[in-house]
Assembly symmetry: C2
Homo-oligomer: 153 residues x 2
């Protein structure tokens, strides 16, 4: 099966230095401020940003219901590239459902930062489900919030 | 779901120095000599032993049918620990079927080498299928061959 059919992409030119954008991904207090589209919030965030390190976030909906998410970083190139997957809940324990792997890249572009997020899935069905769950709107709105936080630093 | 239910383990005391055992895993020419139980053979082996590097082997049955296998190394601690998964065919392309992650550890023990292989699966069904495919016999026989090659170095 082609990987293209299982891939979703978001790209944005963020009006902030790459250093700031990187901090927004790796500092849990900053991450909390943009990572889910408001009015959802992140009630807890722990990120051990190194290959094999755990990413743990708890998303909270407006009614107060909480949704924990665990993942593991596969690749970390400071200020350039971050790869994380939910296929493991910690290094190296398979999660109950390997859903996707996110590859985030950051590059300088005319004084701004080109941010690209690629979400790769194990199945075409999961890719389609991710679209229906609102991948484009959700990650797009989060990217707006990311820019807002990164500019403020 | 508990990880224990999805885990298979093989442990062996190998009568060879840890250095030699490590070489048997990381030198493709040595790997070919033991990695599948005879009379199967490995007709091709390419291993890029670093986190994110690809492991590619082709198993050949006695009739000459070939079975290619791709995986990616997740963690590499020279002479101590090697983690590889078939959940990716290369960094970081999801494979068609994430079946298992192998964690191999090597430790000195009374002048010999304690070799432990843990195979962790995403589902209980895959774990059971791996047992039926002959995990214990196959990996056990391969470990005998590993010892033979490691002792000869």
């Amino acid at each position: 099966m082609s990987n293209d059919e299982r891939e979703l992409t978001l790209t944005r030119l963020i009006d902030a230095p790459r250093e700031n954008v990187w901090r927004c991904f790796t500092d849990p207090e900053l991450l909390k401020r943009w990572f889910v589209p408001r009015p959802w919030t992140i009630s807890e965030a722990r990120v051990d940003v190194r290959p094999g390190g755990t990413s743990y976030t708890v998303m909270r909906d407006p009614d107060g219901n909480e949704y924990p998410n665990s993942g593991v970083y596969l690749e970390v190139v400071p200020k350039e590239r971050l790869v994380v997957t939910d296929a493991y809940s910690e290094a190296w324990k398979p999660s109950d459902k390997p859903f996707f792997t996110a590859i985030m890249t950051f590059a300088d572009e005319g004084g701004k930062t080109r941010y690209t997020a690629i979400a790769r899935h194990w199945t075409k069905e999961d890719t389609e489900a991710h679209v229906k769950m609102g991948f484009h709107e959700g990650w797009g709105k989060a990217a707006d919030q990311l820019e807002e936080v990164a500019r403020s630093l």
